[in-house]
Amino acid sequence: MAETVLELPSVSAPPRRRELLFGTAFATAGVVMMMITLIGAYLSARGAAGPSWLANNQIPLSPGNMMMATLAMSVVTMQWAVWSIDRDDRPHTYLALGVTLLFGAAYINQASFLYSQVEMTMGQLEGALFYAVTGGHIAMVAAGMIFLVLMGFRALGGQFSSRQPDGIGAAAVFWHATVATYVLIWIAVYILK
């Protein structure tokens, strides 16, 4: 039998630990700052407009409250995913990510219902800022869901484990920031109106 020489395939440098976590945190800071500025602009315009603000529209409180409750629950499930991947509990990781995605989809559904109730047009004084703030947040939730799906697939492919949980952690950082931003919107737009 011929002598065989087995060589390990050449590998590139191992992935940098926490790279994705830091990158996501930095990008999230920029996105959150954008949302805070939008909320600030909304409050400033509302203060300048006085009683005429939202004189022709009603923003019902119930959908906003339900959206808050939905996102609050998603914080728990998101952290459940982080907890599970840290313990190599893959089934629960996938389950937690799936439930979080479901909450995200429910939020978007409730937001679209809210839009249909408010019936605000872009030409109104409040229109641009209302849709910039709430639409910006819907985009943030959608981006978070895409992030979750991508990280979920990578976890499914075996890229994340208790030794390398960064992807799920990074998605959690963005998700938690998204929910924290919604708390501000909930107070500024839906409660204070």
Partner: protein
């Protein structure tokens, strides 16, 4: 035949195998994730766009000189658009480009974090910058009169903010996550440190500015409304204190250039890091978006305090330069001149603070001239800092050192140009008290002359860097004699010894020659 052996290819198979051609030059360029290539393209394109923006400043000066005889109805648009262009298609991408090449090398990393995102930021920025220039040509940009073109200018401004933000994320993540064993943040080279703190401020400021771009876009605003949107929501980017944020990396570059020039460690390294961080914190201006914020005590305090980190850096670097034999070169001179220009900007800010003391205006300085003067000083400082980086790290960027006389000439012209632009704005503000237009034509002439000098300076830089790039790699090999990892000529090995100080190469040299310690 053993199972592990590869079946030998037969002649017939090789004859019929389809010929596979590798990617062409253009494909490699577009698809590259190499931080050096991406950084070089950032640098090259930003230099070209900077020349265009400076031509805009020059034309505006000539227009003022001739009492609106050149630009006509394009005057306001040229003034605002060229100022924003100097920021977003000039100084910031130039510094980002240098950081893309140098920061990974400084932390001993073979690559930048998220190389595909870095490439996306380059192409996104380049496309947006091209669209912005096109919109300016169509009387849009910022302050133009064509509705569609101004919307194009607004969108491209937003796209540039996003692209530069993305590039910043890549650079910051490289600093934080790619550091080798032992290199805590307190041992990161000063340029990388400055990019980390600058990046934090840039991300927050760009994010905030992008919000106003979104509002302007979704409200379907016309040209007039978009100009109002710019004044209310974006003009703070080119005012104090926010304008200072683009010059943060200049402080880090100055620290590294002086360290290398002296061949010694900077004493009290932590103090230098603190000064850079303090300058960055003071340059955060997203809280001061409304014009009325300039009349608050916080704004006045910041305007006065921001000179302190610059003075501290100058003092510390001057102390370092007193020791050892110094060979003044373009990088060293440029980095120190950048700090002096920052002091000019701080003088503008101090006068604004003085003017705003109490209720109303104490003296009534011309606000427009003061703001333009301050912005010109800071942008000049950022450019000079970048030139110090370009010339100081020329072997890493282009393969060999830049030609000394050409580099010195470029630094001299750039300094004169921006100093003239800044000084004319400052003097104009002092002379034209209470809205008078005293000697308006003379200030226009000074601004035009400053613009011309700065354009010539940029052309000199392009010429010097092209010369270095064409000369190739070999001749500069002997110049790799710095103190930090980018001068080692290769990424740090995975099994390298832990880093013990901000100057690992100096540590190695001292270890090899124990009698020659110079710290």
């Amino acid at each position: 035949m053993a199972m592990t052996e590869t079946k030998p290819a037969t002649g017939a198979e090789t004859d019929h195998a389809p010929a596979r051609s590798g990617p062409g030059e253009l494909e490699r360029l577009v698809g590259t994730g190499d931080h050096r290539t991406i950084g070089r393209m950032f640098i090259g394109f930003s230099l070209m766009f900077s020349a265009l923006a400076l031509i805009g400043r020059t034309l505006h000066g000539v227009d003022v000189l001739t009492d609106n005889g050149v630009l006509g109805r394009f005057a306001a648009m040229t003034n605002l658009s060229s100022l924003v262009a100097l920021l977003l298609i000039g100084a910031v991408p130039l510094l980002v480009g240098i950081a893309m090449v140098i920061v990974p090398l400084q932390v001993g990393s073979p690559a930048i974090a998220f190389p595909r995102a870095a490439a996306l930021s380059l192409w996104g920025w380049l496309l947006a910058a091209g669209v912005f220039v096109t919109s300016v040509a169509l009387n849009g940009g910022i302050g133009g009169r064509n509705d569609a073109a101004t919307r194009l200018g607004n969108v491209s401004t937003g796209a540039m903010l996003v692209a530069l933000g993305l590039a910043t994320v890549c650079v910051m993540t490289t600093v934080v996550a790619h550091r080798p064993l032992g290199m805590g943040l307190s041992k990161v080279p000063l340029f990388s440190w400055s990019m980390l703190v600058a990046g934090a401020i840039w991300l927050l400021s760009f994010g905030s500015a992008f919000a106003h771009v979104v509002v302007g876009q979704i409200s379907h605003a016309g040209a007039a409304e978009l100009l109002k949107n710019f004044d209310a929501g974006l003009s703070w980017l080119v005012r104090g204190p926010s304008i200072y944020m683009i010059a943060i990396p200049a402080l880090g570059i100055a620290g590294d250039v002086v360290g290398r020039a002296t061949g010694r460690r900077l004493a009290n390294y932590f103090v230098f890091q603190t000064l850079i961080a303090a300058f960055a914190v003071l340059s955060f201006g997203a809280w001061a978006q409304t014009p009325s914020s300039a009349r608050t005590i916080v704004w006045s305090l910041i305007a006065l305090l921001i000179a302190l980190p610059v003075l501290g850096m100058l003092g510390g670097l001057a102390d370092a330069l007193r020791h050892g034999s110094i060979r003044p070169d373009a990088a060293l001179i440029s980095s120190l001149l950048a700090l002096l220009l920052l002091l000019g900007a701080a003088a503008c800010g101090a006068l604004q603070a003085l003017d705003g003391a109490g209720s109303g205006q104490l003296i009534g300085f011309g606000a427009r001239g003061m703001a333009v003067g301050q912005a010109s000083f800071v942008i000049g400082a950022a450019f000079l800092g970048a030139l110090a980086g370009l010339f100081g790290w020329s072997p890493q960027l282009w393969g060999r050192p830049s030609a000394g006389p050409a580099a010195l000439g470029a630094v001299a012209l750039t300094t004169l140009g921006y100093a003239l632009l800044g000084t004319s704005g400052l003097v104009q503000a002092i002379v034209q008290i209470d809205g008078k237009d005293t000697a308006e034509a003379a200030f226009g002439a000074a601004a035009a002359a400053g613009g011309v000098l700065a354009v010539l300076g940029i052309l000199g830089v392009i010429s010097a860097t092209l010369g270095a790039a064409r000369a190739g790699n070999d001749e500069g090999a002997e110049e790799l004699n710095g103190l930090t990892l980018e001068w080692s000529g290769a990424p740090l090995a995975l099994d390298a010894a832990p880093i013990r100080s901000p100057y690992p190469l100096l540590d190695n040299a001292e270890e090899a020659n124990p009698g020659k310690e110079n710290a």
